[in-house]
Amino acid sequence: MSAPAAVPVEVLEIALTVNGERVTRSVPVRLNLADFLRNELQLTGTHVGCEHGVCGACTVRVDGEIARGCLMFAVQADGCRVDTIEGLSDSREIEELQSAFVLTNALQCGFCTPGVLMAAQALLRDEPSPSRERIREYLSGNYCRCTGYQAIVDAVEAVGKARASRRGSGGK
């Protein structure tokens, strides 16, 4: 009798924190993080546009850094803290950005918007007052077919300036 072939591991148990809540699930190892968030946790604000890391619609935050939900397996997020658009909305962390997006009409169909907001928040955290050119460059991993990008740049620039002026006046 020959030795049994190695059985590939198909399902793994993972435990992670999503939008501040502890989550434990058994997931197929091939399940990507975006599909896990959407289908397992019903966090449908994370969108799937290209499934190969180009369009940016699935951008989420993993341990504080933005990442493509379609380029990570859910099992790679084991032990991580994952934040999605729902979490950042509920915590009001990006309320100012969201308001600016609504005001400048920086979204039309809204499909790319959660990913764009994730990226914009990361930019403004690292570079509080980016130039328009810098905003355009940073957001070049986020595809938007509707707006032509200008209103998005306007919104991010406005929030950057507003934050800078508050810092200038004593951080109020």
């Binding site: 197929p28 091939r30 399940l31 959407r38 019903q42 449908t44 604000g45 994370t46 969108h47 799937v48 546009g49 290209c50 499934e51 190969h52 180009v54 369009c55 619609a57 999605t84 658009i85 729902e86 909305s89 969201q98 997006f101 609504v102 005001l103 009409n105 979204l107 039309q108 169909c109 809204g110 499909f111 790319c112 918007t113 959660p114 907001l117 328009r132 905003i135 355009r136 460059e137 957001l139 070049s140 991993g141 986020n142 595809y143 938007c144 077919r145 509707c146 707006t147 032509g148 990008y149 200008q150 209103a151 998005i152 740049v153």
Partner: protein
């Protein structure tokens, strides 16, 4: 003259309580910005099964055998269906319009039966518990293909030795049409200068960020099919799905909630979507299909793919005497149902040179079948081709005569006082404003200053280009667009508007929202018409069970047609409210008005709130006279009657820099002056123009569906197919001229396609303006760095 007309004439769109012309924010944007939209893939129904497709790997192949044995045994598999099995449930469809004389296309099945005719055509459907399991099993379906020679090159599609895709037709000709005013030969012969060129516009595609998606839920108990669809035209889809699946139309409900971009892509009949509906019927449970990105590139309609030969004759002073074009376009193996793939070519013939006052015009259009993905209507249908051809030729003529491009347009654009005007192709223009737009554009872009700067930089070896492109745009179509050709696509739209028991206004309309701001302008118009705050208005769209019958949103029709229906419904509701108010307040109707949600005596601010009026009408009918019944729900419909289309016009300008060593084109700025009639929401119009321009820039500079010589799409990923991203795009300056249409009270025309229609022309003209002193020109799009270097003779 009716009371209604009196009220309409009394409307003050510029008044303090009017929302018309105000850049209010979109109420639905907040939800989307929080990731709380509801796109089709976000809808999760119990027992949903998922379908994936085995697609043809060949451009043309006979399907010799299909063996499901191995795939059927795969985990999670529920059902595997071939094209022949789906055909038992679903009738084929034929994408021809009868008013495009002579057009032909064979019956098309949702999945290929016997022969596959493009790479990516769905062949076998696999339904499983999850999409991943369905994909696994689809790969395991054993399909034996016998590859056939393919007809790929449109130029050779009609050659005597060409592979004939549909043998019963005897050739690959789908449609041919000519327009001829009769005097082109003589005018060309008399011309001082005749310029000629051949322009090529590559295939590209829509790349909606949300892929095409459908969730079909057939309920065997009540024989209803509910379809959640990412689409633009729910009533059209209701008719198509019902008729193909032999269901009663009223038992089919189409729900279009949030749609993640559409641009004309999601308004056609796709086999993979119809098959999902058929499978739901077969299985009696919900079936979901969401295209992945590869499927999107292979099966979402492609667009453009034109080769146009053009000839322009001018007199000594630069007056255009005659224009002649010959357009050839390849549309894939079928004409798309139900709008047909002949409309773009037809549109090119109708509108090329439309801004200009020449009298002689001859145009020939030829539409051919080929073994590539289907081509059909995409944002600005035909306009990018028509505008780029005419504007390129006008610039060529100007250059030949040494006339500045701006001056050339001043001499040739139809005068602003010449309307109504009939173009040589027979198009009727109600009122356009080319010269006002040109003057405004030259001012906002500081044309003279740009020219001076260009000349100065040229001495330093910097090659700047300045482009202009005047355009017309077909918007707000009448039934002469599709209905006349036998397509069940409504040119009429309705609005049902009601006063709720709490005084809120609810408006349901047949036009739909894909991010343009349709729901916002509906709320603006309803609030203005009734006399309430916009926050009191709730808008419903995208549900065939809940909205009046209508066409949906396409061809820039939502504001012009849907908006007018809302206005008329709102005014009718206002009159009914005032009649109830007159009875309750014991006043004369004509002495009352509604201001800020209150029925007031004209000139007074005190009055009865609509909530109070509704309370009395709904709950305290005992206080009303027995012979009076309030009607607080009304419906009104509207269609364009006076003209086949309500044309708009405008002009774009562009400044860019060409790196003559690398061939790269850097866009510096784009300007657009658009006249879409009365502007309901300037911000939303500006954003339509900006987004549209960037979409047009995509076609001009980057986007190309590259097929190899076996009909294999070479760049079907977003990493390989280039779309405009933020870093390469310029800021875009917009301005407006407003010439309200008199075909409606509202006066709004369409604005959704003006940007996309003009951008390829203005970019190409600017590139050629930069290259002209170097003796080079580009005539095909996309204008890649390689194309620029080739034009400069730096690469072969």
């Amino acid at each position: 003259m009716s009371d209604f007309d009196d009220i309409a004439r009394g409307l003050n769109f510029d008044g303090p309580n009017s929302y018309i012309g105000r850049s209010v924010t979109r109420p639905n944007a907040r939800r989307l910005a929080q990731g709380r939209g509801q796109f089709v893939d976000d809808v999760m129904l119990a027992r949903t099964a998922h379908v994936a497709y085995a697609r043809s790997p060949h451009a043309h192949a006979r399907i010799a055998a299909i063996d499901k044995t191995k795939a059927s045994a795969m985990p999670g598999v529920i059902r595997i269906a071939t094209g022949a099995e789906i055909a038992l449930v679903c009738k084929p469809y034929v994408g021809v319009l009868t008013h495009l004389a002579g057009m032909r296309s064979p019956p098309q099945h949702p999945l290929a039966v016997d022969v596959a005719r493009w790479q990516g055509e769905p062949v076998v459907a696999v339904v499983a518990n999850t999409r991943a399991e369905a994909e696994d099993a689809a790969e395991a379906v054993d399909i034996e293909y016998e590859e056939l020679p393919a007809a790929l090159d449109a130029e050779r599609a009609l050659d005597p030795d060409a592979v004939v895709i549909h043998r019963e037709f005897g050739s690959n000709l789908c449609f041919q049409r000519t327009v001829d005013t009769g005097g082109v030969e003589a005018a060309m012969a008399a011309a001082h200068v005749v310029v000629e060129d051949t322009l090529v516009f590559a295939r590209h595609t829509g790349v909606t960020n949300e892929p095409r998606s459908i969730l079909a839920d057939y309920n065997r108990a009540d024989e209803t099919l509910t379809v959640y669809h990412s689409g633009q035209s729910p009533h059209m889809m209701q008719g198509i799905i019902a008729s193909r699946l032999s269901l009663d139309e009223h038992r089919v409900r189409i729900v279009c909630r949030d749609v993640g971009g559409s641009f004309g892509i999601k308004i056609h009949t796709y086999g993979d979507e119809i098959a999902a509906c058929a499978l739901s019927l077969m299985l009696g449970r919900p079936v979901k299909f969401v295209a992945d990105r590869l499927e999107s590139f292979l099966a979402d309609i492609h667009a453009r793919d034109h080769r146009v030969r053009a000839k322009l004759g001018l007199d000594r002073d630069g007056n255009i005497l005659a224009l002649e074009i010959d357009d050839l376009t390849g549309i894939g193996p079928y004409s798309m149902f139900p709008r047909s793939s002949g409309v773009e070519c037809n549109q090119v013939l109708n509108i090329t040179g439309g801004p200009y006052k020449h009298k002689e015009y001859r145009a020939k259009g030829t539409v051919v079948f080929q073994n590539k993905n289907l081509m059909c209507q995409y944002r600005a249908v035909g306009h990018p081709i028509a505008t780029a051809v005419a504007e390129h030729m006008v610039d060529q003529g100007a250059a030949a005569l040494g006339i500045d491009p701006a001056e050339m347009r001043k001499r040739n654009l139809i005068p602003d006082d010449a309307y109504p005007y009939k173009s040589p192709s027979g198009m009727r223009f109600e009122a356009l404003s080319h010269h006002q737009c040109l003057a405004k554009l030259l001012g906002i872009m500081d044309y003279e200053g740009l020219r001076r700067e260009q000349a100065a930089l040229r001495k330093q070896g910097v090659h700047r280009g300045i482009g202009l492109a005047s355009f017309i745009e077909v918007t707000t179509p009448s039934p002469m667009f599709y209905g006349v050709g036998g397509a069940r696509i409504s040119a009429t739209d309705g609005c049902t508007i009601k006063l709720d028991a709490n005084g809120a206004v609810v408006a349901a309309t047949g036009v739909t929202e894909q991010g343009q701001g349709t729901e916002t302008i509906v709320a603006q118009i309803a609030a203005t018409a009734v006399g309430v705050e916009m926050s009191c208005v709730k808008v419903m769209t995208g549900d065939t069970d809940k909205t009046p019958y209508g066409g949906g949103t396409w061809a820039s029709r939502a504001a012009g047609i849907g908006g007018e229906a809302v206005l008329q419904a709102g005014l009718a509701l206002k009159r009914n409210i005032l009649e109830a108010g007159a009875v309750i307040l014991k006043q004369r109707v004509e002495d009352l008005d509604i201001v800020d949600g209150k029925v007031v005596k004209k000139g007074s601010e005190q009055g009865m709130t609509l909530a109070e009026l509704a309370r009395i009408c709904y709950y305290r009918g005992n206080e009303l006279p027995v012979d009076f019944q309030p009607e607080l729900v009304v419906t009104r419909h509207y269609r364009v009657k006076d003209y086949p289309f309500v044309f708009t016009n405008g002009i774009q300008g562009c400044s860019l820099e060409v790196d003559v060593d690398t061939g790269f084109v850097r866009l510096l700025k784009v300007w657009c002056v658009d006249d879409c009639g009365r502007v309901i929401n300037p911000k939303l119009v500006d954003e339509q123009v900006r987004g549209g321009i960037v979409q047009g820039i995509g076609g001009a500079l980057y986007e190309h569906c590259l097929y190899d010589d076996r009909g294999q799409l070479q760049n079907a990923t977003m990493a390989d197919y280039l779309v405009p991203m933020a870093a390469e795009m310029p800021d875009i300056v917009t301005a407006h001229v407003q010439t309200p249409t008199r075909t409606s009270v509202l006066g709004a025309k369409g604005a959704g396609e003006a940007g996309t229609g003009g951008a390829p022309a203005v970019v190409m003209n600017a590139v050629n303006d930069a290259l002209r002193p170097l003796g080079a020109k580009v005539t095909s799009q996309p204008i890649t760095p390689e194309a620029v270097l080739r034009a400069l003779g730096k690469v072969r």
